[in-house]
Amino acid sequence: MSDLFIAIIATLGTIFVLLAAIGLVRMPDTYLRISVTTKAATLGIGLILIAAAFYFKELSVTSRVLAIILFIILTAPIAAHLIGRASYFIGVKLWHKSVMDDLEGKYKKVTHELMSEDIEDESTAIINTIEETPNDTKNK
């Protein structure tokens, strides 16, 4: 009975890890791949480790397993956020079918500061003024 329970939990975890691997290959975009890494793999590894804890049934092993699971649950979102932020700054493109980019124009490209309003970079502002002036003269 216990063996059957362990087998079922380990199978579920393995399926989730396999789905995470397939998703990492199939997803079209870096940001979509990051979402696969955080969710599916964390759940799969947690289930496999719980299966190991049920197999050994010792206090030392169970506490160790719980420590690993807690650590993974804590660190996986942080790591995903950091790498997502870095990949946004180094200019990784979104998927061409992505509908909207909420962060567009809200980061200062030089200092990496986030603002709640749209920021115009000084370089683009200068270009805009140069482009606007001839148009104004033509209109007049």
């Binding site: 290959v25 590894i45 010792e58 790498i83 700054f89 990496h112």
Partner: protein
């Protein structure tokens, strides 16, 4: 079919297939961020393989290595993203 046979002949090969798929993405990955994600997930899958292997060999000592691998995966990702961001900032 005992639990050991099931783990050894079915679950470990499935996890190995998952690792091969991740390695494909690690080699292909168009941007460097993809490679970092694939590396993170490779190490995480390694933790799962270690956990199943510790059940098969009946030795809970292997779980210590799993804990250290979890630490290394997190630190590696943080370091990579930190320096990727810095590199672009200094240009």
């Amino acid at each position: 079919m005992s639990l050991y046979d099931y783990l050894y002949f079915i679950l470990l090969p499935v996890l190995s297939v998952a690792m091969i798929l991740l390695f494909v993405r690690f080699l292909l990955g168009p941007s460097i961020a993809d490679r970092v994600i694939a590396l993170d997930l490779l190490i995480t899958t390694g933790i799962g393989i270690i956990a199943i292997y510790s059940i098969i060999t009946d030795q809970p000592t292997f779980l210590d290595i799993a804990m250290i691998l979890a630490l290394i995966a997190f630190l590696g990702t943080v370091a990579f993203s930190y320096y990727l961001e810095k590199r672009n900032k200094n240009e």
